[in-house]
Amino acid sequence: MAEINRGNVPTVIADDVHIVYRVNTGSSGKGSATAALSKIMRRGKGDAPGVRRVHAVRGVSFTAYRGEAIGVIGSNGSGKSTLLRAIAGLLPCESGKVYTDGQPSLLGVNAALMNDLTGERNVVLGGLAMGMSREQIRERYEDIVDFSGINDKGDFISLPMRTYSSGMAARLRFSIAAAKDHDVLMIDEALATGDRKFQVRSEERIRELRKHAGTVFLVSHNNKSIRDTCSRVLWLEKGELLMDGPTEEVVSAYEKATSA
């Protein structure tokens, strides 16, 4: 516990967070063209027909502290990724608030880099988008490429990203995002991709990031990687926070529930 409690300084506070998606379903059944028209006319006055509300996160509250690595588990569609996006400030909350220390960064396997550009240019572009300076990127460029292991099988970094396998692309994205010291880093399923060798390396890197006084969130369906990297786990189900506690207890409860 002592390791987790170090300093006891909160970095993320979620206060009764609700998130609602509004989805344009295109048509609302009968008379779709006129329905679509009336939808356009009625914009701004409540929810028009043809717009479905999806209540993805319902009243989640927790406090995360400096130095913690927090796993987020739950079945598909339980609101894990949505919650991380809200913490990152990328999705606005319907009600409730998220308070953060500094700017949290979200690292997802589908974070967009540009497929038509070479890996080389994507490293620079990704770094700049994260707010690194050109000098910082030049300094860390070698590390990023080495860490990603893209060049292990020949000079791939100077080829366009569209020629990469999905595992290679995911590895490069992770390497770029992990190159910066984040106050709060959120990782969405990143460890599920890549081969075993890369998984071990990224687990090491996550531990390193934790040491640099950050807080790490990890969304994963791989209970082993949660156990290996996290000290605390949030269990979400249907958008609600079911359990919040030490890894072993929550993960075994989760395993019992899912195998039953």
């Binding site: 909160p10 990328l90 540009m114 988008a129």
Partner: protein, 335 residues
Amino acid sequence: MITGRAPQARCHLLPHLEDGKFQLVSDTTQDGALATSKPPSEDAGLAPAELARKYGLSVSGARPTLVEYVRQLWDRRHFIMAFSRAKLMAQYSEARLGQIWQVATPLLNALVYYLIFGLIMNAGRGMEKGVYIPFLVTGIFVFTFTQSSLMAGVRAIPGNLGLVRALHFPRASLPISFSMQQLQQLLYSMIVVVVVTVGFGNYPRLSWLLVIPTLALQFVFNTGLALVFGRMGSKTPDLAQLMPFITRTWMYASGVMFSISGALEDRHVPAWVTDVLQWNPAAIYMDLVRFALIDDYGRENLPPHVWAFAVGWAVVIGLGGFVYFWKAEERYGRG
């Protein structure tokens, strides 16, 4: 299944509540109240908002002040430049001839327009070939500059949702970066313009320098337009389907392939109608570039107060668009 287990888990967790670390929010309480235990530490009893204030935490995803927003944008200036250049390069990355298309595309465009409007329809009534062809080519490229900035603005947010949802940066970077891309595209096109202009006997002279302030003002105007439509397009992506019709109408009303004053000359319309048509921003910037480059396109082709309007449009749309875009900063990428 799950709800049956939660109370058990809760009892299990209770010992840890003492050290102030863990709190359990249970969904099993019937009255809807949150079953949270306050840690007995020094922070005990602090509401989340108070705790956040104590440690200097800020609300995630809140809109910064306008000054702060400008500062953030300035910090990302390298990203804006790199992104626009990357987009420009990516355009032709699959073509064999690669970057040669940057110049070849506008050249072919000019040829097609010349074939249709110059040879078949003879739209240049009364204008000599030496004037009409540079007139037409200049008009097309200068209008395309505005048109494509606008279109790129509409798609700026919906077309980059992955980026918007994954990374945190001031969203205005995207529309600005796209109009920067169009500016670079225009500079390639200007190579064609210069070749055509010189080819028809208009040699470089001092007035050519006027092209620089004109295009700078047009760039500010375009960026403002891209920001306005960037916000509208993020809320209503359908605009991308609608805009081509609007820009085409705008193009025909702006005198890209004919002179507005020339076309209205024998229609007996009041002079102010001609002035109003010529004060439309696209027409203003086109006419100023033509005035600068073409020897025989003189002062009489420009509406009154032309520079005042050129500056006015840039300032009003540029600043207005920026503020309008910033007002919805926290809502981009939602849903």
